[in-house]
Amino acid sequence: MSPSQKKRFAIVSLIIAGVGVATFFSIMAMQSSFEYFKTPTEIKTEGFDAKQTYKLAGIVRKGSVFRLNDGVTQRFDITDCENDITIQYTGILPDLFREGQAIVTIGKFNNEPMLIASQVLAKHDENYVPNEAADAVMLQQANKCNDTDGPVKY
């Protein structure tokens, strides 16, 4: 490399390094605002503000889903296998909703405390499984919390 090329190489490297460092620090400063949802354990330890809207994700607790007498409101618990939070939702649940499925619920807490969800989204995970193994995988997912005691990732 000629001296002028070396100089330009240094300048370009410095720009990349500078932008990288600046981005790193801004990301570190805004870390929590990049999170899409909170887990039941985070709510239990941090508490909640009744005025704020929360995005809360967890696994649908086996055997917790039931329908209220009005016929359109469902109530169920979501869990990270350590803490549970009860969700109430009026409306049509996503097709993937079932026991053991990770879901994201969006809504506000009431005093019980229970999250009154305005939206329920299914959180599809990174696993792809052929159809014939469906029953086995779904059973394993529904019983996920039996095998672990700590909080699980989803």
């Binding site: 990349i16 989204l121 959180k123 052929p130 469906a134």
Partner: protein
């Protein structure tokens, strides 16, 4: 001479020949159709195996098959950016004409890949997640990438002088490369609605081989499509950039005599 030296000399020779607009034009006349043919063959095989041979997913049924387009184009949206920024850096440091051409011609192709990734993901999201769009880290950073591509294209056309335009475009693409690791790691660093890594997951792909194989065909197919589209666009750009030089004039005159 040992084989490594021969290969190295061949590669270095090709690299330097491609650095000359005229040589590039000659070489690309032969390689471009090859890329196009490889794209067609690989993607047709991938489409057949993806639509008819791969089994349906246990919970998504047949709608999972959109991943055979979504995943390759999303990978390409990042791959094209890395190529574009690397070419930009080479152009800035070594003042190589052809490197700038690579950067400028890659931007619209990368933007198209990014837009396709966002659209296919959105179409898939409605039946699976229950929503077309959420502002989670992965989706938002990919959207920023789309606007970055648009910005790079806009910067090039904002300058009257081509040399200034080329340098400004290259600089913006180099600066923007910081988005690539953010998009890639967004699903690991933060909680998101978008799922985590499947194919390059720790401990191997979380997908059976009969789904992985068509995905691989599609991924390589789209890579050749990039090569094909890039070289076509570069041929055009080279002719436009060099329109005052002797060889382009001779080329045009020959074409006129033939017709």
């Amino acid at each position: 001479m040992n084989p490594i030296t021969i290969i190295w000399n061949f590669l270095s020779n090709t690299y330097h020949r491609l650095g000359s607009p005229r040589e590039f034009y000659t070489i690309s006349r032969y390689t471009t159709p090859v890329f196009g043919a490889l794209f067609l063959v690989l993607s047709l095989i991938g489409t057949y195996f993806g639509l008819f041979v791969a089994p349906a997913d246990y919970q998504q049924g047949d709608s999972f098959r959109i991943l055979f387009v979504h995943v390759p184009v999303a990978w390409m949206s990042l791959f094209v950016y890395v190529v574009m920024a690397t070419a930009g850096a080479i152009g800035l440091i070594w003042r190589m004409k052809m490197a700038f051409v690579v950067t400028i011609c890659s931007a619209p192709i990368g933007a198209a890949f990014t837009a396709l990734a966002l659209m296919t993901g959105s179409i898939w999201g409605k039946p699976i997640w229950g929503t077309y769009w959420v502002w989670d880290a992965r989706l938002t950073s990919e959207l920023i990438l789309l606007f970055l591509y648009f910005g790079i294209m806009a910067v090039y056309y904002a300058f009257e002088d081509r040399k200034t335009a080329e340098k400004a475009t290259a600089l913006l693409s180099v600066v923007g490369v910081v988005i690539v690791p953010i998009i890639h790691y967004s699903v690991e660093w933060w909680s998101s609605l978008h799922q985590g890594v499947t194919v390059f997951a720790e401990g191997g792909p979380k997908m059976p081989p009969e789904m992985l194989l068509p995905l691989a065909f599609m991924a390589f197919g789209f890579m050749f499509f990039y090569g094909y589209a890039l070289f076509l666009s570069m041929q055009n750009k080279v002719l436009d950039n060099e329109r005052k030089s002797g060889w382009v004039r001779a080329l045009v005159n020959n074409k006129e005599q033939q017709s």
